[in-house]
């Protein structure tokens, strides 16, 4: 009897403690959830709504739910516009090149700085700098460096390397180099983004490298494996996880990148990526409906790619 009662009491207390925890947990996250709903979830629903409306910036003060007329014109116009498909192609090229580039550079530098030496801490900090710089300051300095009249790069190219003349790095859609058309400006913008984001790859890979057990590599070295063999068969397989995370993060972020491209070129020279297109539709063309349609297209594409990525990753995990 007393035993049963105490069990019930205890059970009752435990239950109420779990309930209390449930309540407190929800209480603690609620401010954050509230702000995220207000500033992210609701606006996202609004994008969906706006993309089916014919609204322009001047209509904002008179906007009301009673007078909304739904239309699919924004989508029809977008899909029949060659600039949409151009922007899409540019975005895919830009995101792929910057992702691959940033990870390769990050990997190379992380490997070079793997073993301790005097001054390594300082070099690590220097290498990380581009990642924390204000993007506006970085872009302003790069624009100056690449300036055709007084930029150092063009001065060096014409005076020392013997170029025929200065190169307009930020406004040359295509330039023939030995008969091959090279998208100069797109590559310049890609180089800037790699410069700015490779430190993140470096940081993640360095963190993983620190946790690699050294015994395998030592055993392989004693067995006569070369440096390249040890890298290929021992180090690289263990970095696969972190590289997969980096591919995901970098691709998602490069795909939606606005600041870097807009600040350097404003979308000129064949660098009009989707994010810049959303901005020009919204501000330059003052067409909210169309901007929303471009934005939603960007989101849908990104979600689709994410889904494929998750599928493929899961399958390869199962296969192992």
């Amino acid at each position: 009897m007393t035993g049963a009662l105490s069990t019930a009491l205890r059970r009752g207390r435990r239950l109420s403690r779990a309930q209390q925890e449930d309540l407190q947990g929800r209480l603690l996250v609620s401010p954050t959830v509230l702000v995220v709903v207000l500033v992210v979830v609701l606006p996202f629903l609004a994008v969906v709504l706006l993309s089916f409306l014919d609204v322009r910036l001047v209509d904002i003060p008179r906007l009301s739910f009673a007078t909304l007329e739904f239309t699919t014109d924004n989508y029809a116009e977008m899909l029949s516009n060659s600039r949409f498909w151009g922007a899409l192609g540019t975005t895919v090229a830009y995101a792929t090149l910057t992702t691959v580039g940033a990870i390769l550079v990050g990997l190379g530098v992380a490997l070079a700085l793997r073993h301790p030496f005097r001054g390594r801490g300082l070099i690590r900090a220097l290498v990380l700098m581009p990642y924390v710089l204000p993007v506006v300051a970085a872009a302003t300095i790069w624009k100056t460096l690449l300036n055709p009249q007084y930029g150092w790069v063009n001065a060096f190219g014409t005076d020392v390397l013997g170029w025929d003349g200065p190169i307009a790095f930020l406004s040359t859609t295509s330039e023939d180099v030995a008969g091959i058309p090279v998208p100069v400006t797109l590559l310049t913008v890609v180089a800037f983004e790699i410069w700015k984001t490779a430190p993140l790859a470096f940081l993640f890979i360095t963190a993983r490298l620190q946790f690699l057990p050294s015994d395998l590599e030592e055993a392989a070295e004693i067995d006569g494996a070369t440096v390249t063999q040890r890298f290929r068969y021992i180090v690289l397989p263990q970095l696969r996880g972190v590289i997969a995370v980096l591919v995901l993060l970098r691709f998602v972020w490069s795909f939606q990148s606005f600041n870097d491209v807009y600040l350097l070129t404003g979308g000129a020279g064949g660098t009009e990526v989707m994010a810049v297109k959303v901005y020009t539709e919204l501000i330059t063309r003052a067409d909210i409906g169309s901007a929303a349609a471009y934005g939603l297209a960007l989101t849908v594409l990104l979600s689709g790619l994410l889904l494929i990525y998750v599928r493929v990753n899961r399958r390869s995990e199962v296969a192992e």
Partner: protein, 294 residues
């Protein structure tokens, strides 16, 4: 391949070769990382004519050192400057407000995520992850419409609200790792001794997680200080309220001497770099905590 395998001497890349490669990579990495910033510094202390006439010659001779670009950039427009000091105080206000709100909210959320089981936990963390990955430019469209509608464009309050929502997921993620490191037994002892939840958080968890909170605050501060897109959308009409990022970007559109532009870029970079170098170790461990999962 076969030929190489048959020749054991050539199969082993020489240690010297690897070392040369390593040193080359390190030198290139340092030159590329620090080079542009150094270039900005050098241009900012030379007279304009020297920069325009001898673009290749980077080292200023002692006699031509000229620091006047900095006061010109910082002074207000009425005194013949470009108002950077005012942009800096605007940005400082915005960034500091963002840090305070974002850290309080995300610390509470992170504690709940680490220590408590509650209904909807998975939904909430999925929500935060999607904010982390969601394209900011897409949200710009409706936020611009909404804030114009309620008259919050041109106000720093609207900006703080957006920065907060953008930084909370990252902050929450970083703080989670730091809070998880606080020993659970200490918290339980405090609760058993009759300490309320909020008092326990304030006087037990907070002091123990302080270094982590400092690093996260600094990171949030840097994000808010550097932010450009939303500042451009909401403040561009109102020069009085420009932030540093918006200010420098707008000045490149005007006919501002390049030396002043470089001085401005360096001036807005300096606070970020000072913070970064001061808390470098903490920041790095916080940012990479996720990478350890492999």
């Amino acid at each position: 391949m076969k030929r190489l395998a048959a020749n054991p001497v050539r199969r082993v890349p020489s240690r010297g070769g690897i070392r040369v490669l390593k040193v080359t990579v390190i030198v290139l990495a340092v030159v590329f990382s620090a080079g542009p910033l150094l270039y900005g510094v050098l241009l900012s202390v030379r007279p304009l004519s020297a920069v325009l006439n001898e673009p290749l010659n980077l080292l200023p001779s002692l006699g031509e050192l000229d620091f006047s670009s900095y006061p010109t950039a910082l002074r207000g427009e009425s005194e013949g400057g470009f108002g950077l000091a005012r942009f800096m105080s605007n940005t400082f206000l915005v960034a500091l407000s963002t840090v305070v709100i974002s850290i309080v909210f995300s610390a509470l959320g992170a504690y709940a995520a680490v220590r408590m089981k509650f209904f909807g936990q998975r939904t909430v963390s999925a929500l935060f992850l999607s904010v982390y990955l969601f394209p900011g430019i897409v949200l710009a469209v409706p936020l611009f419409v909404m804030l114009s509608r309620i008259g919050l464009t041109g106000s720093l309050v609207g900006l703080v609200l957006i920065y907060m929502a953008q930084t909370v997921p990252v902050a929450l993620y970083m703080l989670r790792n730091y809070l998880a490191a606080v020993p659970r037994s200490v918290e339980e002892a405090a609760l058993i001794d009759g300490c309320g939840l909020f008092r326990m958080l304030r006087s037990v968890v907070l002091p123990m997680a302080l270094p982590g909170i400092a690093a996260t605050s600094l990171y949030v501060f840097i994000i808010a200080w550097n932010e450009y897109l939303f500042a451009l959308l909401f403040l561009v009409q109102d020069r009085e309220r420009w932030t540093v990022a918006l200010g420098i970007a707008q000045l490149t559109e005007f006919t501002v001497p390049v030396t002043v532009l470089m001085a401005g870029s360096i001036a807005i970079t300096l606070p970020v770099l000072v913070g970064f170098f001061a808390a470098q170790k903490l920041l790095i461990s916080g940012l990479t905590a996720g990478a350890e999962k492999g």
